[in-house]
């Protein structure tokens, strides 16, 4: 499993147009500029393709920070 820093970097790359380093573990993902349901799909696709983990809409509703999301993926990975 990637470290949270690598996970954040991959998420930045997938989201496009996000300045490098702007996604930190404490970042509230809903406050990422122009966050929309399309961004949520990208995040779910990243979890599927990179980690083979299914993230649901309910998971995202319960999460606030990038760390929260990373923890859900890591717990399912193990």
């Amino acid at each position: 499993m990637d470290t949270i820093e690598i996970f954040g970097a991959k998420l930045e790359q997938e989201l496009d147009g996000i300045p490098p380093g702007s996604i930190q573990p404490t970042t509230n993902y809903r406050e990422i500029p122009d966050w929309s349901s399309m961004h949520a799909l990208i995040l779910i696709a990243l979890a599927e393709t990179e980690y083979n983990v299914a993230l649901t809409g309910e998971d995202l509703r319960k999460c606030n920070t990038v760390q929260d999301i990373y923890d859900v993926i890591k717990s399912r990975k193990s």
Binding site: D34, I42, I44, A54, T56
Partner: protein, 349 residues
């Protein structure tokens, strides 16, 4: 397990018709430029062909059938089976297939019936048509598959309006014992609310309340006779269920990715389809798309993509894997081989 194989059905040709009216997502006023760029990148959809009021799925399918019969040089008197697959029929009753039997001038000994399925409808329709052909009791069949999804959309709902396009297709199938096809069909009604038109059936008949619009979030205004789509649930379902279904079919047939020329998927959403493609380890060049120019055309998306792909090149022999998934929830896959598949170019009506 709902996987099975059949011998006796040859798919000889496919035609598709779309309305001539184009809706460009570049002109859609409810999304900002930043949202638009993200939308096109994620869904892959730049424009859609949409039916005007009064244009029906039957109209599009009849045109496709006429074009295909001419291209194949088939006589209408030879057709003894007509199946129409759609969730947007011309009327609640009678079945659209029977109306189309008369419009096409087919003989009265033609067996005609409808199947009510959406995104998965082409694979299911092929399975039913192929099963009937395999009995040897039918010699030539038309499988008409299409939807006018936009009739149930609300332009003020940005979660659905930019996604869907309209299309009606025709597939010609003939009895031939040299051809074998394989199917794997599944369903899960516990996910019925993921894609639903809540009112308008017997469960919830239309009342004045059905047509009252409500804004559920900024840019998402709809009423209870509109199509409701939970995009995240559909995404989760599709990437969870489609790959194992396809892999199981490959395993049953003792085939691998190398044995397939093209994987043609229901055209739902580019990111979702790409996630499925990567999980299945199919190379990009074997997986055609039509999302950019036609959007999600529901049940018609697989035959439309076949036409788009094969009307531009000679098709001496193809080994095709078809994968469909969506409303129901319903999903399935199919393997078939074609020789000199006749595909007239996509028609505008």
């Amino acid at each position: 397990m709902a996987h099975f194989n059949l011998r006796g059905a040859k798919v000889s040709g496919v035609a598709a018709t779309v309305p001539k009216t184009i809706e460009s997502n570049r002109d859609y006023e409810l999304i900002t430029d930043a949202e638009r760029a993200m939308f096109v990148k994620t869904t892959g959809i730049e424009q859609r062909h949409v039916a005007l009021h009064g244009e029906t799925t039957g109209d599009l399918c009849v045109n496709s059938a006429e074009v295909l019969l001419r291209a194949l040089n088939w006589s209408k008197d030879e057709i003894d089976l007509l199946i129409f697959v759609s969730q947007s029929p011309d009327h609640f009753l009678p079945a659209t297939s029977i109306i189309v039997q008369d419009r096409l001038g087919l003989k009265k000994t033609t067996a005609s019936f409808d199947i009510n399925l959406g995104c998965s409808g082409y694979v299911y329709g092929l399975s039913v048509a192929s099963s009937m052909m395999a009995t040897g009791g039918f010699r030539k069949a038309l499988l008409l598959v299409g939807d006018i999804s936009t009739a149930a959309l609300n332009r003020k709902d940005k979660s659905t309006w930019p996604l869907f396009g309209d299309c009606g297709t025709a597939t010609a199938i003939e009895y031939n014992r040299d051809y074998e096809s394989f199917f794997n069909l599944q369903s899960d009604g516990s996910g019925k609310d993921a894609i639903i038109i809540p009112h308008g059936g017997i469960r919830n008949p239309i009342t004045p309340e059905s047509l009252i619009e409500k804004e559920y979030e900024p840019g998402v205004t709809r009423h209870l006779r509109n199509l409701w789509l939970n995009g995240l649930d559909v995404f989760n379902f599709s990437v969870r269920e489609a790959p194992p279904n396809v892999n199981e079919l490959l395993q049953v047939m003792n085939k691998t990715v190398e044995d397939i020329d093209f994987l043609v998927m229901h055209q739902a959403n580019f990111l979702m389809n790409e996630t499925i493609r990567k999980k299945l380890k199919f190379p990009a060049e074997k997986v055609p798309y039509t999302l950019k120019q036609y959007g999600n055309t529901s049940s018609a998306s697989i035959p439309l993509t076949l036409v788009d792909q094969f009307s531009k090149q000679p098709n001496p022999h193809n080994r095709l894997l078809l994968a469909s998934f969506g409303v129901g929830l319903s999903w399935g896959s199919c393997y078939l081989e074609t020789d000199n598949l006749v595909c007239p170019p996509v028609q505008l009506l």
